[in-house]
């Protein structure tokens, strides 16, 4: 068991926003060309949590999503599958069935996603339902109101309870950084989530703007790095929402590579929560393989 002493979460770790932005801008200057580009595009594809989280989601849409997830582009059968599909709890069993025999995992949002405004008992039931339906991964939301009011022990206990309810399923904790606003809050929420038992920390629900940004992601990666150095435990990272272009995805991978190194460059430790990113990656991969851009009409919108 992890026996590391818990830090005092009321102590704030200072973070200089301008410095973080400068670091990101310097990392964005890395020039990713030729083989390293193709390698990274395929890697990014394999890291996607292909997502649909809408009130109007239908079983048919989820089945299409799963089909795209396991075979992203029929013309290039050797391409990797994406890492997972991410759906609402009521869609888990449908996704699970559709993905039978594939390596693609099923992630389910839970805990009164996206607001998290529900009592703990309801959140635990929500989680248990999703796990019972077959979810491999649970994406829970942080109670931002409690966090912003300084009730850190509430947050910690809630995450720990959900972790327990997850059983064998992996837990991703969505910080909803757009509502935390400061990078110091992002760092603090990351630390609490990791110490409370998160397997992954995730930026956003995708329902609040801004969603994932590179400065926020860098701060979370640095929190993961420091946690690893303090405990020896690796935690995964998932930026989600707003990442639509392959070029941005590569920039995120550079952030990971130069903050945490090669071990984290795998779908086990890094994910993109996205939907339209998949097609842009496919377009760029086809461009790299064939030398020409295909029309967007050649890529299915699932």
């Amino acid at each position: 068991m992890n026996t590391t002493v818990l830090p005092d979460f009321h102590q704030t770790i200072p973070i200089d926003t301008i410095g973080v932005e400068e670091r990101v801008s310097r990392l964005n200057k890395r020039s990713i060309k030729k083989e390293s580009k193709l390698q990274a595009l395929k890697l990014a594809l394999s890291m996607i949590d292909h997502t649909t989280l809408e009130g109007k989601d239908s079983p048919g849409k989820v089945i299409s999503l799963c089909s795209k997830a396991s075979k992203p582009y029929a013309a290039l059968p050797d391409l990797p599958s994406v890492a997972a599909v991410c759906v609402y709890p009521t869609m888990v069993s449908i996704a699970k069935k559709a993905l039978e025999g594939s390596t693609v995992k099923v992630a389910s949002v839970a805990t009164a996603f996206p607001s998290g405004m529900a009592p703990l008992q309801v959140k635990i039931e929500d989680t248990k339902f999703a796990v019972g339906e077959g979810a491999d991964e649970i994406d829970m939301v942080l109670s931002r109101g409690q966090f912003l009011s300084g009730n850190y022990s509430f947050i910690f206990d809630e995450i720990a309870s959900i972790k327990e309810a997850c059983g064998d399923a992996h837990l991703k904790v969505i910080l909803e950084t757009g509502e935390l606003e400061t990078l110091e809050n992002v760092r603090k929420a990351s630390d609490i989530a990791m110490h409370a038992g998160a397997d992954f920390i995730k930026t956003s629900t995708g329902k609040i703007s801004p969603a994932a940004t590179q400065p926020v992601t860098l701060v979370m990666l640095e929190a993961i790095r420091d946690y690893y150095l303090n405990t020896g435990i690796m935690i995964g990272m998932k930026p989600a929402g707003g990442i639509r272009k392959a070029k941005e995805a590569l920039q995120y991978l550079v952030l990971v590579k130069e903050t945490l190194g090669a071990e984290w460059l795998s779908p086990d430790w890094f994910r993109f929560g996205a939907s339209s990113l998949t097609n842009d990656l496919l377009m760029q991969i086809v461009k790299q393989e064939t030398g020409v851009y295909q029309s967007i009409n050649y890529f299915s919108n699932d």
């Binding site: 890395r30 991978l253 071990e263």
Partner: protein, 511 residues
Amino acid sequence: MSEQSKDKVIKNVEGNGQKPTSPNADLKFDFASFWEYSDAPESSDHIEILEKYDHFIDGEFVKPVKGRYMTSINPSTGKSLTQFAEGTSEDVDKAVKSARKAYTKVWKNLSGKERGKYIFRIARMIQERSRELAITESMDGGKPIRESRDVDVPLAAAYFFYYAGWADKLEYAFPGRKHESLGVCGQIIPWNFPLLMLAWKIAPALATGNTVVLKPAESTPITALKFAEICRDAGLPKGVVNIVTGAGQTGAALVDHPDVNKIAFTGSTAVGKIIQKSIAGTDKKFTLELGGKGANIIFEDAPLDQAVEGIVNAIFFNQGHVCCAGSRLLVQEGVAETLIMKLKNRMETLIVGDPLDKNTDIGAINSQSQFDKINDHLKIGVEEGASMYQSSCKIPDEGYYCRPTIFTNVSQSNRIVQEEIFGPVLTIQTFRTPDEAIEKANNTQFGLAGGVWTDKGSKIFKVGSKLKSGVVWANTYNKFDPTSPFGGYKESGMGREGGLHGLQGYLKFKF
């Protein structure tokens, strides 16, 4: 999310009496084994570098009187790049005469508005040729293209734009005081920022109505000669800017020339002292921008991850060939271990190599002699008993390259702490109280620049105001702007360049 990682749980730090800073300092990150960046070289095929360059005197390129040439090499390969004229006192005399004629006949009689037009035009032409200038700078000097492209060349243009704006507003610059231009300015610039230092010198000189004879450094003359082409193409009146190339003797001839009204020099403290001796007893005005050994002070309440970036920018920018480099790190004891661990991790991600590769962080050391000097200091450091740590990065087989290096276990009396190394070499000392940090920071012959890192605004001002150095950066390092004055305390120099203050060095005040 493998189970194996969960087994990596390491010992409990509770109650073992030690500081809980980094119980797993033995854990390493692997930055290299997977997804290496492919080469991304900036193409240099379209860059025209002549086989031979002459002096630029009186608006045209003229052969040196004695007919001798020197060689400029590309430090990333050690191979010759071009030949350039070796200036003698005869060449310098021609150039000064041309500058004098241009001064009395043309330049000083032009209105500020007209002078400004020429300077604006030069600024725009630097922008137009920015790609060429950046690539040339990296080939001739060894600095990474990321820096010449994003720092040197855009900043050089910015200085011309800034001082062009002053040209017609000089009478409002110093209210209540009357002033006039000096005449002919002799300017001698170093090899670390060839085009940028040229801009720092020439832009304010022209704006204030002076004419110029400039001598670039002997290892990096090419961008100055391309700048001469820009002056010619901009239609700048003949003789307003003259460029004479050569080494120390050429510079000495310029300093000693009786018809020069001002000497502006950037370079080593040793040469600065020689210049001061040479012009003693004359009425030549001078500004000197000399060496440094900047203290970068990290307090325990600093944003540490950003401070690590600041340290990297302070000492590894331009291979550490920066007079205001933060080459002495002073870190508060409580965070020293954590900070050094973070710094070492960060150093592992620095890419040393081909200056023209867009991913290169640290390029080539500028010359054989500088390469030798840095290596000497590495030896000295080890002999003095300091612990040396270098990143494990690959470096090219040919050319002059130095791995980023830090020294711990150093004392104030060590040579590596006292002497300017001018390379990617950092010494790290710890301190306990702010007073101790200030004392150590100031205990040096230099006083050019320093940094203060803390989350507390009042501490920035309290410590910053006690540092005896011309520049103090707070929670950042190596930031430059044309509007900001720059210059040194003590043996780091006299006079200020940049900003409103930078005008003073090129004006004679009547009352």
